[in-house]
Amino acid sequence: MTESNPADDLLPTPHTSVAVGEPLVVLTDVDKYFGDLHVLKNINLTVGRGEVVVVIGPSGSGKSTLCRSINRLETIQSGGIMIDGSPLPSEGKALARLRADVGMVFQQFNLFAHKTILENVTLGPVRVRRKSKQEARAHGMELLNRVGVGNQAEKYPAQLSGGQQQRVAIARALAMDPKVILFDEPTSALDPEMINEVLDVMIQLAQQGMTMIVVTHEMGFARTAADRVVFMADGEILEEAAPEAFFTSPTTARAKDFLSKILTH
């Protein structure tokens, strides 16, 4: 990508209350059911500030549900979720405030279809952060330039390629100056040749110290950018390890089986 300059800083000054490495997202004994289906089984996970945690696992293992429950797009039946020291509110204004601090990037991008790219990026800052339109536009353009789509600012999402849309979605999340960003399979809906332009932006973010929880099938990204890999299967966390350790010597049979299937083609 010639449009983006990897040396640029994507991140503003962090405003979290915990120091680097201190727990920012803490899940304790989380259980979730879809009807009779037990999709999250006693999940315990702590993500420190500045940490990049990659969640991998077979389809239906509950990794997307886990990701979505952290900003309460899915509700959990028992257990606790703490973000930056305070428990996840159950509804109303407090929940909206929390969500403003937790960025989310979806598999299907979910850009606001009736708004221009720039409006997508400025809506949150103006309506939620109460920034002035001018300030939001200036900051929004800066972010769009940094993810390499500044020249598309006045277009509508449907006029952009998938990779461009996903980079806009990342800029939209960054515009809120979030404490952590959740990525729910951000490259799974992309054509192969567009995956890297999105991963490049994510790697850049990771290197600049953004706290990230990334559900993905991109093992290359996990190796390059992750501080820790979490392996899930059937709603349980089976393994947690540094990427190198996990990929070279997984301990559970389930993980060995999974890796042998994805790494041997």
């Binding site: 909206a96 979806f106 979910n110 850009l111």
Partner: protein, 229 residues
């Protein structure tokens, strides 16, 4: 032909036509406002509001318009004496009939507007609402900024249908003495029965002149503002 032209001036057909236009536009605005509120109730997370929205649509949509018009004219205006016009004004009776007619038309067509909008809301993918919530918008701003603007675009064609129906249904208020086209048609037929077919044709043309462009405009609009996905 001369006789018909005479009728048109004698029975103030142009004025009656203008009355139909006013009835239609004001009632359309009223129906849009009430209908939007009802539709928002129907998709809201609050159980009581959802119940109210569903009850409104089911009761009003399944009640004949004539009954609703009579309810407001005789039940509310005459019996309960709730007036919407200055009682000392010389046109007090006509004003009251017109205004309660508008209320009746608005209330009735709001149920169709609400259903059109709800179908519009269903054209908006769930991910749009999730993305709105994910950037910290609460229920009302995600509705006004993200869901409704897309829902209106998706609902334009059915809203156009409702407006065409409303235009023609406005003839029902002739029953409570609002001097619109159908009211004057009845008078003209009564006093010039030999021109029966010419009068029918005249009134039909009046409505076609109104509804045909409306239909064409809404079809154009629904293509023009459609949300690209």
């Amino acid at each position: 032909m001369g006789e018909l032209a005479d009728l048109i001036t004698r029975y103030h057909v142009l004025l009656a036509f203008w009355m139909t236009v006013r009835l239609t536009t004001i009632s359309a605005l009223g129906a849009l406002i009430i209908g939007t509120i009802v539709a928002v109730c129907r998709v809201s997370p609050v159980g009581v509001l959802r119940w109210f929205g569903a009850a409104y649509v089911n009761v009003i949509r399944n009640t004949p318009l004539t009954l609703i018009v009579f309810f407001f004219a005789f039940g509310v205006l005459n019996t309960l004496s709730i007036s919407l016009a200055d009682p000392h004004s010389p046109t007090s009776i006509a004003d009251n009939n017109f205004r309660w007619g508008v209320v009746a038309l608005s209330v009735y067509h709001a149920s169709f507007v609400a259903e059109s909008l709800r179908s519009g809301v269903n054209t908006v993918p769930l991910g749009q609402a999730e993305a709105a919530r994910a950037i910290g918008l609460s229920f009302v701003p995600s509705l006004t900024e993200v869901i409704l603007p897309q829902a209106f675009r998706g609902a334009i064609a059915p809203l156009g249908n409702t407006l065409v129906a409303l235009t023609k249904n406005s003839t029902v208020v002739s029953t409570i003495g609002v001097a619109e086209i159908a009211y004057q048609m009845k008078n003209m037929i009564e006093f010039s029965p030999h021109l029966l077919y010419a009068i029918f044709l005249l009134v039909a043309i009046c409505f076609v002149v109104l509804t045909l462009p409306v239909g064409a405009f809404f079809t154009y609009l629904s293509r023009r503002v459609a949300v690209q996905r």
